[in-house]
């Protein structure tokens, strides 16, 4: 950085509406952080279809991360159908995240509240509920992304 220029002066200098940040202590793998940030930006409306994502080179230069990590994140987003890469031009947003219709969302909330009440009655505290949900969530997506057919839904698993 030449003397006298502030890093923040560069905001808006790149072609993309967003710039990535990294939370090194979060424990989440770097490429996933990038994926989540794109999805989050989409959800909040900072990114719209047609917008260009930061170039791999620019992400590498600003965050000092491995280029393959960025490529992996972009590949993951491409698999999810959210972005598309145009050779020689860059990577662009293809579609928004599927919106869930409001009545469906309300119904999901209601059933979730009921389940929470049951869990609370059973004696699970907040972190217990969190852990249970996290492990089921992980298992759900692992199974969904093509692993072997699942065993009978583990009712007999013990939980710490």
């Amino acid at each position: 950085m030449p003397i006298g220029q502030r890093d923040s002066d560069r905001v808006g200098a790149q072609n993309s509406p967003i710039e990535f940040r990294l939370d090194p202590a979060s424990g989440v793998p770097t490429y996933l952080q990038l994926v989540h940030q794109v999805e989050h930006a989409l959800r909040l409306g900072y990114l719209k279809p047609g917008d260009q994502l930061p170039k791999v080179r620019d992400v590498v230069a600003s965050l000092a991360i491995n280029p393959n990590t960025v490529s992996k994140a972009y590949r993951e987003l491409e698999t999810k159908g959210l972005i598309v890469g145009r050779p020689g031009q860059g990577t662009f947003i293809l579609a928004t995240l599927s919106q869930v219709a409001l009545p469906e969302l309300t119904g999901l909330r209601r059933s979730l509240r009921g389940w929470l009440a049951k869990a609370d009655t059973a004696g699970l505290d907040e972190s217990g509920i969190s852990a249970l949900v996290a492990s089921e969530l992980r298992g759900f997506y692992e199974r969904r992304s093509g692993s072997r057919s699942s065993a009978p839904s583990g009712e007999t698993e013990g939980v710490a």
Binding site: V56, R57, V60, A64, N66, P67, N68, G139
Partner: protein, 303 residues
Amino acid sequence: MNIIETHSLGKSYGTTKALHDCNLAIPEGHVAALVGPNGAGKSTLLNLAVGLAAPTSGELSVLGGYRAGSLPALDGIGFVAQDTPLYKNLSAADMLHLTRNLNRHFDQAYAEARLAELGIPQKRKAGKLSGGQQAQLALTLALARRPRLLVLDEPVAMLDPIARHDFMATVLTAATDDGVSVLLSSHVLAELERVADYLIMMSLGRIQVAGEVDDLLAGHRVLTGPTAEAGRYDERTVVHVRGGDAQAHLLVRSTADDPVPRGWEAHPVGLEELALAYLREPGAAALPGPVPSWDADPAEMTR
């Protein structure tokens, strides 16, 4: 094409054996991190790769088959040694001139542009530059040679956080733009996951672990469960154990496909945790392919 390949590589200094029987095949186009405690043989391996020392036994080839230290190897490898050695009483411009004279290829325009970008005055003596600037100058000299492989020996050890970040950003940008393969030895485990996509761990002169980071992380996980049952797990696949009287964590070589015993939980493992575990267990090594086993009948296994 393998950027570095070794076959039973050994190096002895007199009666001291610095490297034993090392086998490596690092593919090109990666940023490979070399990790290990002091005295593990990291610097020895790097010195052999750049041709400053010769193997005592075994074979070592670089850049797809050239002997380390041969003219094509010297041409194609840029080296920044520990403490970034520069001639302290020469100016930055002198160092550029020197490097240009000593090499077949040198991109003078790139080097000058980089120095300007970094705010390093060409006339200033190298010894008068800050630590970060010296490191960047040494890196610029190496990259201006347009190498195919960049070898860095603990390059960021003495740098402050910003200098460290800028240094690694430069290295990684070169990897992105020009496809330069990188081999760097490092003690900074926290940055490994961000920076490296190939990991080599050394201990006591031997290779403990060598492989793509994605494969390594997919091939290890942490199993948490009752300490009493911990001993039933096959020692050959357990890398590291920690725990109290009741609960234990086992870092094991196994994939997500392997069944988890009843009463146990499996967690994915991050690169820093994996590296720390191997550092703590100098005798452990990653065998090719996980070999899980559990002396219990399959009915006990759950998903």
